[in-house]
């Protein structure tokens, strides 16, 4: 019975396709699996905006929106209507065509990136042989749209915001890809379903998730921090910080285009945390062998909500990084640690499956983390503040 529940969407799709004539079947199957993404994830985006505002509220000892709908869960409808009603102001000096295309160009790569993520057992839209490479290749398109938005509004602040956003995205793309490389080394294939199948075995009831190994944990933390920066979220949200450059590259956007940027940012966040789940947290696999009766897509969704909650939690806690701190952190801490992580993954692979490899790998990683951290804290003076009192 559980297997039927697990494959319910797949059977539904075949059911629907059954009615169509044979010639139309491949097209129908493509359309159905593609149509699911723009329905499910913008819905998730709507709910997560409310969860985010309520979570931030609760962190700051207040309620968060509770007026619109039960416990405030229709707030996204109000925001959506507000975005639709707001007048769409286009600056006179703006480059009309590029200004109009920027939000579209932001959504295309993000929605494309969902094609390779395995949401459940046999539930992946396009099972490419080089799925991971496709995800990162398409992820690069977002920077182009950020530039188009910043440049076309002909406004110094949005251009500065766009330049900062691009610099940040490029310098955090490197640790992102390098931390994913360690997983590819271990599995030996770029195919995401292959990676999940590799993590689907259990010993003494615990799943073989990569996050449970030292190089996997380091890789996962690196991936998490880099995805925070890639989706411009809180410790790294300098490009669109209200206190700095008004709203960064989408200063000159209002009304529905602004909402599209907002949607693009959240969909980007879901996509990249979805990838993090697939690489390190075992995609749609259950953590323990006795829990495998829960359907696979439920596991994927709950892990996704878990990571989104950690993002919100980080947003409620950490202050914003300055531009130079942000860059130093990427090039002088994240990149070397990612490279060391690849070496450690190599050592892990060739030391054979007994306990000393745990010790060696975690020792190397711990002292690498400590040394790099000390180096960063020392010349960046990130340690305890030294106060100089005015005479």
């Amino acid at each position: 019975m559980f297997d039927k529940l697990d494959q319910i969407f797949v059977t539904l799709k075949h059911l629907v396709m059954g009615h169509l004539p044979a010639a139309w079947q491949p097209l129908a199957s493509a359309v159905i699996s593609i149509a699911l993404i723009p329905i499910v994830f913008p819905g998730l985006f709507a709910i997560v905006t409310v969860i985010e505002r309520k979570g931030l509220g609760r962190i700051q000892n207040r309620y968060g929106p509770n007026r619109v709908g039960p416990f405030g869960f229709l707030q996204f409808v109000a925001d959506g209507i507000k975005a639709l009603i707001k007048e769409d102001v286009v600056p006179r000096a703006a480059d009309k065509m590029v200004h109009f295309l920027a939000p579209v160009m932001m959504l295309i790569p993000v929605l494309l990136a969902y094609a390779v993520l395995p949401f459940g057992r046999k539930m992946v839209v396009a099972d490419y042989d080089a799925g991971l490479l496709f995800f990162f290749a398409v992820g690069g398109g977002v920077e182009l749209s950020v530039f188009m938005a910043g440049w076309s509004s002909r406004n110094k602040y949005s251009l500065l915001g766009a330049m900062r956003a691009i610099a940040q995205m490029i310098s955090y793309e490197l640790p992102l890809i390098l931390s994913a490389v360690t997983v590819v080394m271990m599995v030996g294939s770029l195919n995401l379903s292959e990676i999940v199948k590799h993590q689907n075995q259990y010993t003494f009831g615990i799943a073989h998730w990569f996050v449970f190994s030292p190089w996997g944990l380091a890789g996962f933390l690196l991936f998490l921090v880099a995805s925070l920066a890639e989706s411009n979220r809180t410790p790294f949200d300098l490009p669109e910080a209200e206190s700095e450059i008004i709203a960064g590259y989408f200063t000159e956007y209002s009304g529905f285009k602004f909402a599209l940027f907002f949607l693009g940012e959240y969909l980007g966040m879901f996509a990249i945390s979805g990838l993090g789940i697939t690489l390190f947290l075992g995609g749609w696999t259950a953590p323990f062998s006795f829990l495998t009766w829960i359907p696979s897509y439920v596991w994927f969704l709950s892990k996704l909500l878990g990571i989104v909650f950690v993002f919100i939690w980080i947003r409620g806690t950490l202050p914003r990084l300055r531009m130079d701190q942000l860059m130093n952190f990427a090039w002088k801490f994240m990149l070397p640690l990612a490279l060391i992580n690849i070496v450690v993954a190599g050592i892990w692979h060739y030391m054979g499956p007994d306990w000393p490899r745990w010790l060696v790998c975690s020792a190397i990683l711990a002292c690498a983390y400590g040394l790099l951290g000390l180096g960063l804290m020392h010349n960046q003076k990130l340690g305890k503040r030294i106060y100089r009192y005015a005479e």
């Binding site: 992820g139 920077e143 182009l144 770029l190 030294i386 100089r388």
Partner: protein
């Protein structure tokens, strides 16, 4: 010959011609990005999956942004001067036409190749990896060296000289505004620190 491939070819050609002929440079760069994505789509349809994704990653993701940054750094974002072509543009066009006719003639009546294998070749990541690691190991190392050398070279070329070189224009030294704040007497800072820590 699938219809989609022809459509991709036409779209890519239009984007490439636009990239070459538009006046505003940033529009050229964006058209170039579309041309690159068109070429990547062509690769995907020719079953070269890995090459298509690498094309998007390398060209659309990196080189297009690099060109756009260079356009902004050389402040030619929106300065379409009077004539966009160089003085000797006619000779260029003539040479181009000659180049294209020879290529076209060579393509059209070259001896036909044996018919390709019926099922499309599979360039799976596994055998690309094996090929790279076994047969093409030397070019891989050379490419790695070349990329590092190129990166260092690019940085050195584009590095901003610190004003000592006697360049003809002589870049301006930073103007002094007001007197420099004299550094804090070292003694007071140390004593403050002990007081606090």
């Amino acid at each position: 010959m699938s219809l989609f491939l022809v459509i991709t070819f036409v779209v890519t050609l239009l984007a490439a011609v636009a990239a070459m002929s538009l006046r505003n440079l940033v529009h050229c760069a964006l058209m170039l990005a579309i041309a690159f994505s068109g070429i990547a789509a062509a690769y995907l349809q020719l079953n070269a999956e890995f090459a298509g994704f690498t094309e998007i990653l390398v060209y659309v993701g990196a080189i297009a942004i690099l060109i756009v940054m260079a356009i902004l750094l050389t402040r030619s974002g929106e300065a379409p001067e009077k004539s966009v072509l160089t003085s000797g543009w006619l000779a260029g066009v003539v040479v181009t036409v000659m180049v294209f006719t020879t290529l076209g003639w060579a393509v059209l009546n070259s001896t036909a190749l044996p018919p390709p294998p019926v099922e499309a070749p599979q360039a799976t990541v596994k055998n690309i990896g094996d090929m790279l690691m076994t047969r093409y190991i030397l070019p891989l190392e050379i490419i790695a060296l070349m990329l590092t050398a190129a990166m260092i070279g690019a940085v050195i070329i584009a590095f901003k000289e610190d004003g000592k070189s006697k360049s003809s224009q002589g870049n301006e030294t930073p103007i002094q505004i007001g007197n420099q704040p004299e550094p804090l007497p070292a003694g007071s800072v140390e004593s403050r620190k002990e007081g606090v820590a």
